[in-house]
Amino acid sequence: MLRFEHGKTWLLWTLICLILVFGIEAKSKSDHSHNGHHQNASSITGIPIVTFKWHHVEMPYTVALWILVAGLGKLVIEANHHVTNVIPESALLICFGFILGGIIWGADKVQTFSLTPTVFFFYLLPQIILDAGYFMPNKLFFSNLGGILIHAIIGTCWNAATVGLSLWGCHVGGAMGDIDIGLLQYLLYGSLLSAVDPVAVIAVFEQVHVNEVLFIMVFGESLLNDGVTVVLFNVFDAFVSLGGAEIDAAEIIKGIISFFVVAFGGALVGVVFGLLLSLLTRCTKNIQIIEPGFVFVLGYLSYLTAEMLSLSAILSITFCGVCCQKYINANMDEKSVTTVRYAMKVFANGSETMIFVFLGISAIDKTIWVWNTGFILLTLLFVFVYRCIGVFFLTWIQNKFRLVPLDFTDRLIMSYGGLRGAVAYGLAVLLDENKIKERPLMIGTTLIVVYFTVILQGITMKPLVTWLKVKRATSSDLMLIGKVQNKVFDHLLVAIEDISGQKGHNYMRDKWNNFESKWLSWILMKPSARKKHDHVFDVFHQLNLRDALDYVAEGECKGSLEFIRNETAYIDFRKKFGDDFSDISMEISNIHVSLSNTFRRDTVPSISLEMHEQTMNGLRESEDMNTHHLLQQHLYKGRKQHRHRYSRSHFDVNQDENEVQEIFQRTMRNRLESFKSGKMGVTPPKTITKHSKKDTQQKMPNGKSMDKTRSYHSGDEGQSLRRFGIENPAFMPDLDPMAPVQIPPWLAEGETDSATVAPSQRAQAGLPWTPSNLRRLAPLRISTRSSDSFVLADTLPSSSRERDELPPPPSPPPSPPHS
């Protein structure tokens, strides 16, 4: 296995190298032949059948090639789990970049590809930040907003000022030798190094699962400090151009004001776009297929708009994501939401990969390397030390006001998590060569700082977290009781604050929630979405969906197709007529004790069953095969299935109302008739299974052994017999597979050829209340069964008793008599 992996890895490596070399050679060739080509073009007289037009596609081709290479690099890296467990992926990607950069350097003798600020800020960064905003855990973020802001604003200013001043001090002290950097330039340099980088933080912290508060503190800071960094950078840049003499109090005050304008303006632009986006998704019902596109386009527009107004673009797109997430998730179709989620991840992950690879490549360039040991080492030292001092001091102040104080290890990780990344590099490249003589040194040192933080701190982060026993994120299961309890806490705390007459966090949050649900949701959410919107219900819904999937999967394992089909159709029905029906079922089941009225949920069982292993054990290959056949034949095929296949605007196949209606009606008819027949002892009506059975029989592979065919036959028959029971809701085929009396149908199928099982009524009448092997869901099932048995008992108590002694229920006429 291991060897195989290695083989694969090497194959990939060679592939990448080939692609790369090919790309570079093609490029250099095109450079050489560029001039000649035009001459050729004019001299061609006939129509060329094939022409090689590299320069025609050069740009997009190179881009696509790079994306491919970066993606393949990631693929290779991720294939080696034992490596990525130790070294974070971001560090590996940078190293991968080194190698690529080396190859390019070897081929071209000049670094043709490096991360330019335009590419980075316009094409790579936005989607990462949008992703961060869109997936932001809002409650956590806003409840820690105070702390985050303190770190983002004061911490960043502190970093910039101290790093700049200390470097300048050392410079004056003579630690750096002969370089031409003034105080303002040092401050400028300090400001570009001050910002903790969101991309690096996400990349490293994603693999170290620290507790959520710690994560949000570091992560939130890295997102929000952008406003500060941009302002500091711009202000000092302007100061450097102005020169020291021109700066007076007025300029400094203007700088401070511009901070507020840039930061809050950026956030405001983001909020406006977020609200616009939410409003827009309210009315995109008819263009569902391009609905997800709006999210990206408007998010990007918010970024560009802020950039255009010279506001903080990162803040803008962050807040756009934060504001709209709730409403667009509620407004859009579930499929669109999934699309958005995945596309967001694809873009963000892709550009993150690109960024790190390019950070590596950029290093292999002679022109940027000006070595100055003193400068580089002192920068590293100051960046690290002042970050620690800043964090410790600020958290010390905060802890006086925090309900849950950040303890020593938290603070240590926060300081250690001060990773610098591509934002710093991008800003360094933006420096003006004419104004700053030592630009190459600054770029080089920035790169070293980036490598130091991302690679070294990234690698040591995990051991450190383990060693310090930092509280990790508890990966708790999605639990209903937990959510309900959380809600209880929320209201309880608000109430206590109300009673004690304080206006604390909870009070504020409650007021905001009220406002939000009263006004914002009303404006921004579709009326239909608003109805369903409740967190507890969401969780409930998710759990139900998951269980429904499990349920179906489980049924598939057993090959009980009728059951599957009926159940799924039944779910459709339930969605439509949920309330009416449940009322009826409520009436029926109310009589039972305690857990009885859970009938409703039984169709979509609410808690996952862990039955797979057990059910899988009993399966044999042939049965599996049969199952597939049967599944193919029996699952309801929509009449209009192919209708929209070529339509670009409608993706859904089986959404038609009539069709759902039809499925529902068909199932209900089956159910009703089987009820009737259950009472009268009449044979159940023929259903679709009839012809499908013929089909399957015809489709049986010829080379099968007799035994298999037999078992197949019997399975088929067992099934048609079983239908009697299954369509009768009184029988749940997987209720308790271990029940002593009842022979489970899927076993009966293979082993007992006699087909005398027909477990429905007998088993049920025999043991209406015996839960044998109780799993999570068991009480539910029991109760359901009992409620159903009640229905039966109510209508025809005697017949079901009789049935107990009777031979198996009559098989439907079309099925050939076998036993």
């Binding site: 309900l403 849950v404 104080p405 508890t474 209903l480 937990g482 309900v484 309890q485 959380n486 209880v488 806490f489 209201h491 309880l492 705390l493 608000v494 109430a495 206590i496 604050e497 109300d498 009673i499 004690s500 007459g501 304080q502 206006k503 604390g504 966090h505 009070y507 409650d510 009220n514 608003r530 109805k531 369903k532 919107h533 409740d534 507890v536 219900f537 409930f540 759990l543 309330d579 449940s582 009322d583 004790v593 305690s594 857990l595 009225n597 859970t598 409703r600 949920r601 609410s606 808690i607 209340w769 015996t770 839960p771 044998s772 109780l774 799993r775 999570r776 869901l777 068991a778 009480p779």
Partner: protein
């Protein structure tokens, strides 16, 4: 002791502070609030609490108010509810929501946790029988969901049922045939919420200064 001097005329605060762990400032603030709520009476009635305007939109206010008059929450030996409470009881109930101190031994933390959970449990267990039955739980869930309005009672019921099943599966695990899960006992309750950061989740900051706005 400097705090004591700053509030002369309230020597009884010292006892209360020992009993509840509140600082003198906090007690003074809460006392003021108590007077305000009880209209300068010595005792507080249910009506006084339900008259608080901010509380009116709280979906589980009934349970919370009831908790203040539940004897289990201030004198563990007794049961049942009372009609009126004095400031002392008011303070003891409030003290369930004090945040844990920073330096605490494991046992202390555990006892704080248990204390808070006991309060929560009592709040759910309205009939004092030591178990939260399905009916009681369902009631809470219904009221929690009632605020959003759109979700009907049916949904609330089924959510409560599902939650109860989770409880059953966690606390009992394997159930014998013919066995019913009749309700959550306190031990189960502890087990259920073991993953929860109760110490911090069920705490609010009691301020030293009065932030009550004038009515």
């Amino acid at each position: 002791m400097g705090a004591l001097q700053s509030i002369p005329g309230h020597p009884e605060y010292s006892d209360l502070s020992d009993k509840t762990g509140f600082s003198f400032e906090q007690i003074s603030v809460l006392h003021k609030r108590f007077k305000q709520l009880s209209h300068n009476e010595d005792t507080l009635h249910r009506d006084d609490l339900s008259a608080i305007p901010d509380l009116s939109c709280n979906p589980i206010r009934a349970q919370i108010i009831e908790a203040f008059f539940d004897q289990r929450n201030f004198s563990p030996s007794e049961e049942g509810t009372v009609e009126e409470i004095r400031f002392e009881e008011f303070l003891v109930v409030m003290s369930h929501f004090r945040p844990p101190r920073h330096s605490m031994s494991e046992e202390q933390r555990e006892s704080v946790r248990k204390d808070k959970l006991r309060f929560l449990f009592n709040m759910h267990d309205t009939d004092n029988d030591g178990t939260i039955t399905l009916q009681e739980y369902r009631h809470v869930v219904e009221e929690l969901l009632s605020r959003s309005g759109a979700l009907g009672k049916e949904t609330a019921k089924s959510i409560a049922d599902a939650a109860m099943l989770e409880v059953a599966s966690i606390s009992v695990g394997h159930m014998e045939p013919d066995e019913f899960y009749e309700g959550i006992t306190f031990e189960h309750f502890l087990k259920l919420l073991s993953g929860f950061d109760i110490e911090h989740k069920m705490s609010i900051r009691f301020l030293n200064v009065d932030t009550t706005l004038c009515k």
